[in-house]
């Protein structure tokens, strides 16, 4: 299992090399990995169906309960199958789409890592590991969205996606930690099985809100939905993958995963169905106001995500069956449609559907695949999308009474996606042939494989419903706590309310499509009006304020004046250390009583010299006074049993004086630069620092917390270090690595000094 998840990362390491060797066919080579994984996951499925969930454990940081544990049950396997299955075709497709791209190797590095991270999210059993993979998907998708990094818009979109999802990720982390603490275990399996009263806990509401914030941002729920359409700046294979099986589905996965544990909460049901329903409607509505093929699809993804979240929120048996069916159907048709949108873009040279028409005769295979996938999107029989949509209507109608709003929203959304499907599958291929920037012809096999297979599966699953029912839907329902044996999918349920709703949608959608071109100007106006007040405008306002505050803060804190930095540092130190010191120990004021005349003399000498060094206007006087302090320090070292220190100090002090005298006297003499007011300010700061240090020493010499560790050094100096000078033994033996580091520092300083002197010499000769 560990290998299955990590193999993507391993292959990513070698991706540039493989790209160079395999050339144009590298997509096919990379696809071997997800294809193998797909087969393996499929092989695991019957076993899991028979024996229930399995947990595979690999200790990572066992002491902190952070382990590479994997939970394999129906839900995680279905997601893993979608990721690896669709991933296979995406990788092949990318090989054709980005053929000859200079950064193809880099693309596959990120893409494979992204896929592996996504597998990690859906398979992790450990909450912390799940979060790590979750963040990895955010980071890799950032790199993928901004892949065309020379494009300003791509960079801005990537950053927007990153900000939104990472902000949500932060909330999620807090939520998961709360959840883990409340349940007493960080293992998902244990959390789900836990009989602790999670919902009665005092943290229940903040925990729920944090987790929902994470899932909603990731899964682009209103009002965080705006990043997803902008993420279209990514190359099409990325969009296809991001929308169909990965990234945005991570949030849905998490909600579904936690539903058995948290689904009972009133708040959970309320928020999920409300925001899900709202997102569903918003997505469907926004989809029909756009003409860019990818934009239309992006908003229809938002609609689908809203639907899925809403279904989890409703949480009845019907809703769970609808959830699983809709999820599979959506992944299949959305993957196919995005790849088709990419083909259209690639072959015609324009992204705008309004500029395309009559392509069916030129691209027969694409047009058929598009028609099948779009029928599934629209939810027409006999495709899997139809079954999913009928179940969704069923679930919504069946929902508890206070969710009356949902059928209305669902009906509106149903109309929206049908129109969207029409826009994407009818407009470009049929009707009058329109001239496009490039002369289109059928796409290469590598680009057709994905759409054809995925659209084919939509059809196959729709006709042979027992396949998805037994292999995908039933296991998912089982792991969501539903009754797997009650799952029964059928195309024909008789004439009932959902069917009537579907027919109603079809009629209205047909009318809208008929007049779509004529409605465009009004829709444009509407969209712009909404854009001004929508959540995206809020995002820009927040970013603007963030920049403004950052600028202001930089101007205040980083103003380039050395003195300001010093004062800030000094006052912060005094404030924080002083506060701690005084609250912990009081002010241990003891007056200095010199124990001998000699001590009094040396103290007087040092203090007077130090102050003289600061006050004098003579450079030489200042340096001399400073060196008197230095030599007095050496004297103290020698007197108090530190001969080595004394010797070193005398040596260094002598060198210092020589150096200062040599260099500093080539600089101008002292002049009064600061005003009296500034000097007083500096004096006050300096005295505060000095007083703090005095109090610090007084407090520190009073208490000893621990036995000094040097007892060991003293005892083992001769026996282990073979030296009689213990300080030297410590330096060259016990702490030899420190000394080595010190030598590096000195060498670096020497190199720096040397190069600056050389530089000077060259300047003068030049």
């Amino acid at each position: 299992m560990l290998l299955a998840v990590l193999s993507g990362f391993i292959l990513a390491l070698f991706a540039p090399l493989i790209c160079r060797v395999a050339g144009d066919r590298c997509g096919w080579v990379f696809a071997l990995l997800p294809a193998t994984l797909f087969v393996w996951f499929a092989w695991l499925l019957p076993e899991v169906m028979a024996n229930g969930a399995q947990v595979v454990r690999y200790p990572w940081f066992p002491a902190m309960e952070i382990n590479l544990d994997f939970l394999i049950d129906g839900l995680s396997l279905m997601f893993a199958l979608l990721i690896s299955g669709i991933g296979t075709f995406i990788l092949i497709y990318a090989g054709g789409y980005l053929k000859g791209h200079p950064y193809l190797g880099r693309f596959y590095v990120v893409m494979l890592s992204f896929m592996a991270s996504m597998l990690g999210v859906v398979l992790s059993d450990n909450l912390v590991t799940l979060f790590v993979f979750w963040e990895l998907t955010s980071i890799t998708s950032y790199l993928l969205i901004g892949f065309e990094h020379e494009d300003v818009k791509a960079r801005a979109s990537a950053l927007q996606g990153l900000f939104v999802t990472v902000a949500g990720g932060l909330a999620l982390m807090a939520g998961l930690i709360m959840l883990g603490t409340m349940a007493g275990s960080y293992s998902l399996n244990d959390v789900l099985a836990s009989d602790a009263d999670l919902l009665g806990h005092e943290w229940a509401v903040p925990m729920l809100l944090c987790i929902l914030a994470g899932a909603f941002t990731k899964s682009a729920q209103v009002p965080f939905h705006f990043w997803l359409p902008n993420a279209m700046a990514a190359p099409t294979p990325v969009s296809a993958f991001l929308h169909s099986a990965t990234m945005v589905k991570a949030g849905v996965y998490l909600l579904a995963r936690l539903n058995p544990a948290l689904g009972e909460a009133e708040l959970w049901t309320l928020l999920l169905s409300f925001f899900g329903g709202l997102t569903m409607f918003t997505g469907a509505f926004m989809a029909i106001t756009h003409t860019g093929a990818k934009k239309v699809l992006a908003y229809s993804t938002i609609m689908a995500l809203g639907t899925l979240v809403m279904l989890i929120g409703i949480g009845t048996h019907y809703a769970l069956v609808a959830f699983a069916t809709f999820l599979v159907a959506h992944s299949l048709y959305k993957g196919a449609l995005f790849m088709i949108a990419g083909i259209l873009d690639h072959e015609t040279g324009t992204k705008d559907v309004a500029e395309m028409g009559g392509l069916a005769s030129l691209m027969p295979v694409t047009s058929v695949a598009a028609a099948v996938a779009a029928l599934s999107l629209a939810g027409l029989p006999p495709l899997l999308g139809f079954v999913g949509k009928e179940l969704m209507f069923e679930a919504v109608l069946d929902a508890p009474a206070w969710q009356m709003l949902l059928p209305v929203l669902a009906f509106g959304a149903g109309i929206g996606v049908m129109v969207a499907a029409g826009i994407i599958a009818i407009k470009p291929f049929y009707g009058k042939r329109l001239e496009t920037p490039k002369h289109p012809h059928e796409a290469p096999v590598s680009m057709l494989a994905g759409p054809v297979v995925l659209a084919g599966l939509s059809l196959l699953f729709g006709v042979a419903l027992f396949i998805p029912e037994q292999t995908l839907v039933a296991p998912v329902v089982a792991s969501l706590g539903g009754a797997a044996e009650k799952v029964h999918l059928a195309l024909w349920h008789g004439i009932n309310m959902p069917l009537i709703l579907s027919l109603g949608c079809l009629v209205v959608a047909g009318l809208i499509l008929r007049f779509w071109s004529r409605l465009q100007p009004q829709l444009d106006v509407l969209r712009e009006g909404l854009g001004r007040f929508g959540p995206e405008a809020g995002y820009f306002r927040i970013m603007e304020w963030l920049t403004r505050i950052a600028t202001w803060q930089t101007r205040v804190l980083q103003n380039g004046t050395m003195g300001n930095y010093m004062i800030t540092l000094a006052l912060t130190t005094v404030g924080i250390t002083g506060f701690t010191l005084i609250t912990q120990y009081g002010v241990p004021l003891r007056l200095p009583v010199p124990d001998s005349g000699f001590a009094a003399g040396i103290a007087l000498l040092m203090i007077v010299s130090a102050f003289f060094a600061t006050g004098t206007v003579s450079r030489l006087g200042s340096v001399a006074a400073m060196s008197i302090v230095g030599f007095a320090v050496a004297l103290i070292f020698i007197l108090f049993s530190a001969p080595d220190l004394g010797i070193t100090q005398i040596l260094v002090e002598t060198l210092t004086v020589i150096l200062l005298v040599l260099v500093l006297f080539r600089l101008p003499g002292f002049t009064r630069m600061s005003s009296p007011l500034e000097r007083w300010r500096d004096i006050i700061v300096a005295v505060m620092v000095g007083a703090l240090m005095t109090v610090l020493i007084l407090a520190a010499t009073e208490v000893q917390f621990f036995e000094p560790i040097s007892a060991e050094h003293v005892a083992r100096s001769v026996s282990d270090g073979h030296g009689r000078n213990i300080v030297n033994v410590i330096l060259v033996d016990f702490r030899a690595l420190d000394t080595l580091g010190e030598m590096f520092v000195l060498a670096l300083a020497a190199v720096g000094v040397y190069s600056m002197i050389r530089l000077k010499a060259e300047d003068q000769t030049a």
Binding site: M606, F637, I726, V745
Partner: protein, 115 residues
Amino acid sequence: METLMAYIVGAMFAAAVYMMLRRSIVKLVIGLMLLSNAANLLIFTVAGMRQGAPPLVPEGAEVPASAVADPLPQALILTAIVIAFGVLAFSVVLIHRAYEVVGTDDLDRMKDTDT
């Protein structure tokens, strides 16, 4: 002695900080030297001061006959003294170089060079 040292170190710190707050770059260097001496002395004092007991093992013995001064702070200070000298040498040359390039020893006027 430790109490007296506390006041000496405090005075040295005050003098050092005051010097480092001056605008003359030469004073900054002198302040830096005072600061490193003050810091060394602080560690030395806090570790406990003991007269006439250097951390040496007499010839023929395995361990010192009686208690000796703590050798570990001494080793740390020794490192600090040498590093401080390295920093000083580097900063002195850097300052001299900066003066040549910028043409001023006033720190407040040096800040405009990067804009």
